[in-house]
């Protein structure tokens, strides 16, 4: 499907190339963003040298389809192969070579989440890999507080709603996966989390008032972090910009990687990186942020709710 588009000469973007319009064919586990970023750069360098994938393949004693998989970010690269390719493409500047070799190394380090492969479907595993590589995570949630902001008890209650028949052990592993994901927010060079939340989510506890009170207090603490912003969409805004459901926009620090929109469904997910489609979601998100209460006013709102329940 993707090669059809490429054959028609239409632009194909880094993520689409990597995971075929959200169908995730052949996406290996592990660090997603460095791999796609490396592939995108290798492709750019090869094209700038006017070389074919077959010519590049010869240099590293591989097939042209391996080069193609590398450039799509579907497979991890060996540092020696990348070094040989860089020489072939005329990249001699030591600093530039080291930058790409460092990217190669980080692309082959297994992700922490791989220990959860028993409970982690591929469509969600990809999201966690992308989230880890993001510099800004913008979310809009309607029914529940975003996973990165949930307390352990709130998370357990939400997981039980959709996994009512799961064993206690599986539920705890899911809770623990979600808690481990949250470490992202406090690690060095943490991404910005910019969350927009409908007031309705704050009025409907998944498990009684105690869980909600603790959740509200947790959000107040989280929003003290300089990299976390929460904007509540109050009921008095009336009908607002987000006509659809919840969505997330991930932005990456690499200049040549586009934003990705993530739409989670009951048991699958859709990933969007075509610029026109991403723009539609970005417009809705920007409008929502303008309509929603500011971060400071939202904190007041949380404190107010905390006194009421």
């Amino acid at each position: 499907m993707i090669s059809d588009r490429e054959e028609r000469g239409e632009p194909v973007h880094a993520f689409t190339r990597a995971f075929s319009s959200g169908t995730l064919v052949g996406v290996p586990s592990g660090p997603t963003v460095p791999r796609i970023a490396l592939g995108t750069q290798l492709r750019r360098l090869r094209e700038a040298s006017n070389l074919t994938t077959a010519q590049a393949a010869e240099t590293i004693r591989a097939t042209h389809s391996k080069i193609s998989r590398l450039e799509r970010g579907r497979t991890a690269a060996r540092p020696r192969d990348v070094a040989d390719l860089l020489s072939l493409y005329g990249v001699t500047d030591e600093a530039e070579r080291e930058k790409l070799l460092a990217l190669t190394r980080s692309a082959s380090t297994p992700g922490w989440w791989q220990q959860y492969s028993d409970i982690l479907p591929r469509w969600l595993e990809l999201y966690i890999g992308l989230e880890k590589g993001a510099s800004v995570i913008r979310t809009y949630e309607v029914q529940f507080v975003h996973g990165l902001m949930q307390t352990e008890d709130y998370a357990r209650a939400v997981i039980l709603i959709s996994k009512a028949n799961a064993s206690a052990e599986e539920v705890e592993r899911r809770v623990s996966l979600r808690m481990q994901r949250q470490q992202l927010l406090t690690q060095p060079s943490a991404p910005d989390l910019w969350a927009v939340l409908d007031e309705a989510a704050l009025c409907r506890s998944p498990d009684g008032p105690d869980v909600m009170r603790a959740q509200l207090r947790h959000m107040l603490l989280l929003t003290d972090l300089p990299n976390v912003t929460l904007q509540i969409v109050p009921f008095d805004v009336g009908s607002h910009a987000a006509a659809g459901g919840p969505f997330t926009i991930l932005r990456f620090p690499e200049p040549d990687l586009p934003d990705v929109v993530y739409l989670e469904q009951l048991n699958s997910a859709v990933y969007i990186d075509q610029p026109d489609d991403v723009t539609d979601y970005m417009t809705v998100m920007d409008r929502l942020c303008i309509q929603a209460a500011t971060g400071a006013a939202s904190k007041d709102k949380l404190s107010g709710l905390l006194r009421q329940i």
Binding site: V136, D192, W194, P226, N227, T229, Q231, P234, D236, V237, G238, S239, H240, R251, P255, P258, D259, D276, T279, M282, T283, D286, R287, C289, I290, Q291, T294, G295
Partner: protein
């Protein structure tokens, strides 16, 4: 506020009309722009390919000016008027990297810029950042609100980067600057940069931009730009081409001058 007033009064975001902050973000290599912004951005680039170098040179000037102010000049308070969309090396990041206790007030009148600034231009725990929704001509509102974060009895750096071009001569940019500086203590600074009308192709490209976007831009002569520093002591090397102001060692070859100038002046 009544129940529906917030929705009705919500500031408008029109993605179909090019807007200066988003077009500038496009030229800087950012990712916060819509198709209409890219279209006019590309048209200007076709007429004046150096526009992206001008945008980057202005950004680099901001970094060097803030490093000078937070370093050699010892400034810990910044009033940044005409913030624009967040990108790399924003004023507070540069200042707080040198002095974490630095206090920065960002001023802009664009609702999109303000929400992005509030979410992404956030302070170190030691310092402070605040955000004011005001037109730069509304100096009374700017000064009253900035006083909540800045102590005007101590020196402040007034940052006006690529912003005076947004107001025509008929709105008297020199008196806007004068009013803002008038309340500032001795030892305060003005850092100002803008496009200049020394390049015919640049001026033509600006005219095309003005006919096709929500905002208009008015590049002035180098003499007019220098005139904005009247009454101030200019820091060496004066008001010069952006790349020449205290340029730091760079690995990139000099790609030539851009039609943009900047300078830093001290209030005696």
């Amino acid at each position: 506020m009544t129940d529906n007033s917030r929705a009705q009064n919500a500031p408008k975001l029109d993605p179909n009309v090019p807007h200066s902050a988003r077009v500038w973000n496009y030229w800087l290599g950012g990712k916060d722009h819509y198709p209409a912004d890219r279209m006019v951005g590309d048209q200007v680039m076709a007429m004046f390919p150096d526009i992206t170098r001008l945008a980057r040179a202005d950004r680099a000037f901001l970094g060097r000016a803030v490093r000078y102010l937070a370093g050699e000049a010892g400034i810990r308070q910044f009033l940044d008027v005409g913030t624009g969309l967040p990108t790399a090396n924003n004023t507070h990041e540069v200042a707080q990297a040198m002095a974490p206790e630095s206090r920065i007030v960002y001023v802009d009148n664009d609702p999109l810029v303000l929400v992005h600034a509030r979410a992404l231009l956030t302070s170190t725990p030691e310092g402070a950042c605040d955000y004011i929704d005001a037109d730069l001509r509304d100096t009374g509102k700017i000064l009253t609100q900035a006083a909540k974060t800045l102590d005007f009895s101590r020196p402040v750096a007034l940052m006006m980067l690529g912003i005076v071009g947004q107001i025509p001569d008929s709105d008297h940019p020199e008196s806007v600057i004068g009013q803002l500086l008038s309340v500032m203590a001795s030892g305060s600074y003005l850092a100002l940069s803008d496009g200049v009308n020394t390049s015919e192709t640049f001026t033509e490209a600006v005219q095309h931009y003005n006919e096709n976007s929500a905002n208009t831009y008015h590049p002035r002569s180098p003499e007019q730009l220098t005139g904005f520093f009247d009454g101030l002591e200019l820091v060496e090397p004066g008001v010069v081409e952006l790349g020449r102001w205290r340029s730091e060692a760079t690995v990139f070859p000099d790609a030539g001058e851009v039609p943009g100038m900047g300078g830093v002046g001290r209030k005696p």
